[in-house]
């Protein structure tokens, strides 16, 4: 344990010195993973699958704000689906527009959760998402997790729907679209996962914030158990088919992910070196403010006036 803590402190030390570059690097890696996953799951347009293009896009993300990843990923998804079928692309565009209008306006900060949720689904560790969102976020995060799950299920459903038929007349468009939308709305698995994830996020959040010892660890474990039970009971009640094996292994993988995140990300105040400029009537000041490393842990989460 002492070893781990010293590793963590070393990481913190390095990070506080080179935060700008490390952040850019992480944005690049995240963007690259997201785009590769989009290409793997809905890659219908060959032109967009070129590794050079994807790498260039990801490099661009290194200098843009993190939210640009979401916009690029959404555009990539729509273009791929457009190559598959115009109707599918239309449905997904409508979904993205609705998500933007109804939710992102309220909490743009959380939008990374919405990208990470489908990513976790694609990497077969979806159950880590509500736990991590509950640990890191606010109560609103449950809506972000739900939006991410909706985006994943809709894109997945539309992609598998086989709606890539030639469209000849209005009736055909109407009936295909109706089938698509009914399929999306009637997807019981999606409903179950959304309810389970929202409830788990709230449970983890409430336990994490409560004033008990080891509340973070308790939150992680009880969140995992709650999620598991919710989905098992829910699938029995709603008559959906859930692979119990996948559920158990997914939850088992979610635990270490959440624990690692807690240890390296949430328990440390990653304060960083800042470069500031200001002036008064006598001088110009170019200040490099280097934070003092203290091993106070995550008790210091509530900041007073700038640390």
């Amino acid at each position: 344990m002492d070893n781990l803590i010293s590793i963590r402190d070393r990481i913190k030390e390095v990070y506080s010195g080179y935060a700008t570059y490390i952040d850019a690097f992480f944005r690049f890696v995240l963007a690259l993973i997201v785009y590769v996953m989009v290409n793997n799951s809905v890659g219908h347009m060959e032109a967009l699958k070129s590794p050079v293009l994807i790498t260039l896009l990801a490099l661009l993300n290194a200098v843009l704000p993190a939210n640009a990843i979401i916009i690029f990923a959404a555009i990539l998804t729509v273009l791929h689906l457009y190559a598959y079928s115009l109707l599918c692309a239309g449905v997904v565009v409508v979904l993205f527009v609705l998500l933007f209008l109804l939710y992102f306006r309220f909490s743009p900060k959380d939008s990374l959760t919405v990208v990470l949720t489908p990513l976790a689904f694609a990497m077969h560790v979806p159950y880590a998402v509500p736990i991590c969102a509950g640990l890191s976020g606010s109560p609103y995060s449950c809506v972000s997790v739900a939006c991410g799950a909706v985006a994943y299920y809709v894109v997945n459903y539309v992609n598998m729907s086989g709606a890539d038929i030639e469209i000849e007349d209005v009736e055909m468009v109407a009936s295909t679209l109706r089938n698509l939308i009914n399929g999306i709305i009637g997807n019981k698995n999606m409903h179950l996962v959304i309810y389970a994830f929202m409830a788990t996020t709230l449970v983890v959040y409430v336990i994490r914030r409560s004033k008990i010892n080891y509340s973070w660890i308790i939150a992680i474990f009880s969140g995992a158990v709650f999620d598991l039970l919710f989905i098992l009971v829910g699938s029995a009640v709603m008559h959906t088919s859930v692979s119990v094996l996948a559920l158990f292994t997914g939850t088992l993988f979610a635990l270490p992910i959440a624990l690692i995140l807690m240890f390296f990300v949430f328990m440390v105040d990653y304060s960083r070196t800042e470069y500031l400029q200001f002036e008064d009537e006598e001088y110009y000041y170019y200040v490099k403010a280097v934070p003092k490393i203290s091993s106070g842990g995550f008790e210091q989460e509530e900041r007073n006036f700038r640390r």
Binding site: L98, L101, L102, A174, S175, L177, F278, F305
Partner: protein, 128 residues
């Protein structure tokens, strides 16, 4: 002569201005009613756009039905049902945005208050 305390204070304030304060200071510049009211109007506009999108998808989905029943349909009925749903959703959204933006405003005021205290302290340093 360089004043160490003053530089520390100014550095902290500059750091706040560059990070958290970037969002908070403009919000705290509004009156509460202006900030909340303006954002409620923005949410109402986005709900209206979202509603238009949903209704158009619904209409396209049921286009064949509408065309075949064009002469029998009671349009007033359909329209009034849409308007009822729209009004209901709009009211819920207005309430939610009232709550969310009131909280945001209070948080911003709280965050900026500490900054303003530091500002006063800085002014008093110049006075001495």
């Amino acid at each position: 002569m360089l004043d160490k305390d003053k530089i520390i204070l100014m550095t902290r304030m500059a750091s706040y201005e560059a990070t958290e304060g970037k969002k908070m200071i403009p919000i705290a510049g509004y009156f509460r009613s202006d900030y909340v009211g303006f954002n409620i109007i923005k949410s109402a506009v986005s709900v209206t756009l979202a509603f238009i999108v949903i209704v158009s998808v619904y209409l396209v989905c049921n286009a064949d039905k509408f065309i075949s029943e064009f002469y029998e349909a009671n349009f007033m009925d359909v329209v009034s049902r849409f308007i009822n749903i729209y009004g209901f959703v709009l009211i819920i959204y207005i309430l939610v945005s009232y709550i969310v933006y009131s909280f945001k405003y209070t948080a911003a005021r709280k965050s900026v208050r500490i900054y303003q205290k530091a500002l006063k302290k800085l002014i008093s340093m110049y006075g001495r």
